[in-house]
Structure formats: structure tokens, C-alpha cells
């Protein structure tokens, strides 16, 4: 059985260039590899991972089976890994954008949760797999595999959250937010929707920010104190 390795990408940890092409414009400069990966994704939306054969992908991409094999020497498993990695990179690029353009910690957390919630909820291939082939996805979200997902999410989000939080607290916040995204996406709540910014903001304000704003204030106070000590009392700290 092929299991899509959601954690296969090693590129998620580092900061990404902000010029990642958006999915909607992805068709303008397609390489053959990209065309095959996109075709494979469409096949997964239709038939799932197990029932998608390389022949289907080749037909969908309008190329020969030999071309698929030449470009993906790892065969179906290798291709599926690439599909998963491509989708995960797209996902994280969108989240990075939300975090990088947010004005405040609250906007950053709310934006990243709603964006992730929306993308997971409307991702056709993922939703197909959750409905018809959960064994291809869910083993990645529990126990030791979940630890790995949390680590990747922290590596990704912590450097971005450190705009507002000290490093260690940024890692803690990143993991916390990742847990909430997974929980509300896999087991939807009746009273709120993870892809709705209004209800996410209420959740974040009630249950998350009180655990972080103190730290932000402390961090600011510490930073101000340090600056004050270094600069002899003339600080121009930013308001948050």
C-alpha cells in the first residue's frame, strides 16, 4: 500500500521565498514534471492513491508511460511523494504569506489558522482520501507521526512568530496553533468553523492570546529594559 508521506519534505523548515507562484497561475510555465504531478493530483481526486496507476497519470498528462518513468524513476511511490511534497509546499507558502503580512500576533495566528482550515477543508484530493482512503492520510496524524508533524509546523512557524515572541515562546505558540488546526480540521466543531476568521478570532482571543500576551509584554518589557540599559534610557520601542 502506498502511504502518502506528508512529512517527506525537508524544505519546509527554512524560510521560503515569498515569490512562490500561486496555484491559480501555475499553468503558465509548466514543466513536464509539473504537468505530471498536476495530472497525478487530478487522478487522486477521482480515484484515490491506491487505484491510481501510472498509466492513468500518463494519459491524464498527455504523455507516455515511458516519460513518466523517465522523470519519476521512483515509479508510483516516488511520484506520490512528489505530489504530497508539492501540495505541502503550496500549503506552507500560503501560510507563510499570511504570517508575513500580518500586522499583529493576533492577526498572524488568526490568519494562519483560517487559511490552513480553508485549504484543508477545500483540498479536493485530501478530502477524497479522508472519505475513501483514510489509511493513506490518518496514520500521519497520530502518535509519533503527529510529533513529526508538530515539529515541522514549529520549524516553519516559529521563525515567523518570533517577530512578536521570544524564540522559545514562538516555538511553543507554533506547536499550539498547529494542534488547534489539526483538531478543528479533523474533528469539526459545531459552534465554530476553522475556516471562518470571525469565529477563529473569538477562539484565539479567548483561549490562546491570554497565554501569549503576557509573554509578549514580558518580552517587550525585557527588550525595552535591555535597550534602555544599552542606550542609556532612550528607547523607541514599537507599539503592538
Amino acid at each position: 500500500m502506498t502511504v502518502v508521506d506528508l512529512t517527506a519534505s525537508g524544505t519546509l523548515a527554512g524560510p521560503r521565498p515569498s515569490s512562490t507562484p500561486s496555484p491559480s497561475t501555475g499553468t503558465t510555465t509548466t514543466t513536464p514534471e509539473r504537468r505530471i504531478v498536476d495530472a497525478a493530483l487530478r487522478c487522486i481526486c477521482r480515484w484515490g492513491v491506491a487505484k491510481t496507476a501510472l498509466d492513468d497519470v500518463a494519459r491524464e498528462a498527455g504523455c507516455s508511460r515511458a516519460t513518466v518513468y523517465r522523470l519519476f524513476p521512483g515509479g508510483k511511490d516516488g511520484l506520490m511523494e512528489t505530489v504530497a511534497r508539492t501540495e505541502i509546499e503550496r500549503f506552507f507558502a500560503a501560510l507563510a504569506d499570511r504570517l508575513d503580512t500580518a500586522a499583529t500576533l493576533e492577526d498572524g495566528i488568526v490568519g494562519v489558522m483560517a487559511e490552513a482550515g480553508h485549504r484543508l477543508k477545500t483540498h479536493e484530493a485530501l478530502q477524497y482520501l479522508l472519505a475513501h482512503e483514510p489509511e493513506a492520510v490518518l496514520p500521519r496524524l497520530a502518535f509519533s507521526e503527529m510529533d513529526q508533524v508538530l515539529r515541522i509546523a514549529s520549524d516553519f512557524a516559529a521563525p515567523r512568530l518570533s517577530r512578536w515572541l521570544p524564540d522559545d515562546e514562538a516555538r511553543r505558540a507554533a506547536e499550539w496553533v498547529a494542534r488547534l488546526i489539526v483538531s478543528y480540521s479533523i474533528t469539526p466543531a459545531t459552534h465554530m468553523s476553522i475556516d471562518d476568521e470571525g469565529s477563529v478570532r473569538a477562539l484565539v482571543r479567548t483561549f490562546v492570546l491570554p497565554g501569549l500576551t503576557n509573554l509578549t509584554n514580558n518580552a517587550n518589557a525585557n527588550a525595552s529594559a535591555t535597550r534602555a540599559a544599552n542606550e542609556g534610557g532612550t528607547t523607541n520601542g514599537q507599539d503592538h
Binding site: P134, E135, P139, L141, F143, D147, S183, I186, L203
Partner: protein, 185 residues
């Protein structure tokens, strides 16, 4: 009598799964272990092996959360209840030999069913925590249902994966409960 037979079959299936794993356990194995006929097993579980396995996972999940509820029954206040719940649940998962074996050898046969069950488990934890949440008191405007829902999700998330925390360390668990679970309550 019927409930007795059902319970016996589930217990027997659980014993078989512990011994052979999920994929190698058959309806015959379960019947033999329960000292019942194959027909009796099918009468209780008309869906055969799939139903038997899914119901056994459900049965053990129920037992797990009942043990957890029992473990925290004597605690004083929401704070202490959550600390004990996380400590107990983490240890119980680590020491759950059957679970750990299945996670090693055939996670794809277990985890989808656990996830199907997650709604029910969430409901169970919520119902359990709700009175303690009320007793704890909430800031004005905070809905007790939503607070119980949030706490239950956090508890489930930490049962599934401890992440950067060490849930065997009581001090850390206290810190976690204070800073991430109860911070808004």
C-alpha cells in the same frame, strides 16, 4: 445474556488481536477464544470481521477513557483534574502494549477507525469536563460549552502526541495546563 455474549466476543477478539494482530485475526479465532460458535459471533456482528474489529477498537477506546475518568475522579478542581488526566493518559498510552504493537506493525488498520471515533471521544471528554469547568468559573462572556470543547481538544491532542513537552514530568504538565489549557479560563 445477549450483552454478556457480546462482551465476551469483544474481549476474545481483543485477546486475539493482542496475539496475532488485526489482519491475521479471523472470526473463527474470536469464536474459539470466546468458546462460542461462529454463528453466534455472526449473529452479534453481522458485518463479520470488519465490524468485529471496529467494535473491538471502540470497546477498548471506551475502556481506556473509563480508566482515565476513574483515575481523575478523586481530584480537586479542574486544574488538578487536567494535570492528572494528562499524566495518566500519556503513561497509559505508552504502556498500552497492544496499542503500541499495532502502531508499529499495522497503524493503517487502526488509526482510521480511531479517527472515525474521535467525535464520540471528544463528546465523552467534554461531558466529563463540563461540571468541573462550571465549578472552576469562567470569565464573563465565555461559553462553558466552548471552554469544555477547547479543553477536550487540547487533552485529545496531547494524548495523541506530546510534541515538545515531556508529559512524564509533573512540573511540565502543571506548566502546560496553566499556560495553554487554562490560560483563558
Amino acid at each position: 445474556m445477549a450483552a454478556g455474549a457480546r462482551e465476551r466476543i469483544l474481549e476474545a477478539t481483543y485477546a486475539c488481536v493482542a496475539r496475532y494482530g488485526i489482519s491475521k485475526t479471523t472470526v473463527e479465532d474470536a469464536a474459539r477464544e470466546a468458546r462460542l460458535s461462529r454463528a453466534t459471533v455472526y449473529r452479534h456482528f453481522p458485518g463479520g470481521k470488519d465490524e468485529l474489529v471496529n467494535e473491538t477498537i471502540r470497546w477498548e477506546t471506551n475502556r481506556f477513557f473509563l480508566r482515565l475518568a476513574e483515575a481523575v475522579a478523586g481530584t480537586n478542581g479542574l486544574d488538578e483534574m487536567l494535570v492528572e488526566a494528562l499524566l495518566f493518559a500519556h503513561r497509559a498510552i505508552e504502556q498500552h502494549a497492544v496499542l503500541q504493537k499495532i502502531l508499529q506493525t499495522e497503524p493503517e488498520l487502526l488509526l482510521p477507525q480511531l479517527s472515525v471515533d474521535s467525535d464520540r471521544v471528544l463528546g465523552f471528554i467534554k461531558t466529563f469536563l463540563r461540571p468541573a469547568v462550571e465549578e472552576h468559573g469562567l470569565p464573563p462572556g465565555t461559553d462553558p460549552d466552548q471552554a469544555a470543547d477547547y479543553l477536550s481538544r487540547m487533552v485529545m491532542s496531547f494524548i495523541a502526541a506530546q510534541g515538545r513537552w515531556d508529559l512524564t514530568d509533573r512540573e511540565q504538565v502543571r506548566d502546560l495546563v496553566r499556560t495553554e489549557l487554562l490560560t483563558g479560563l
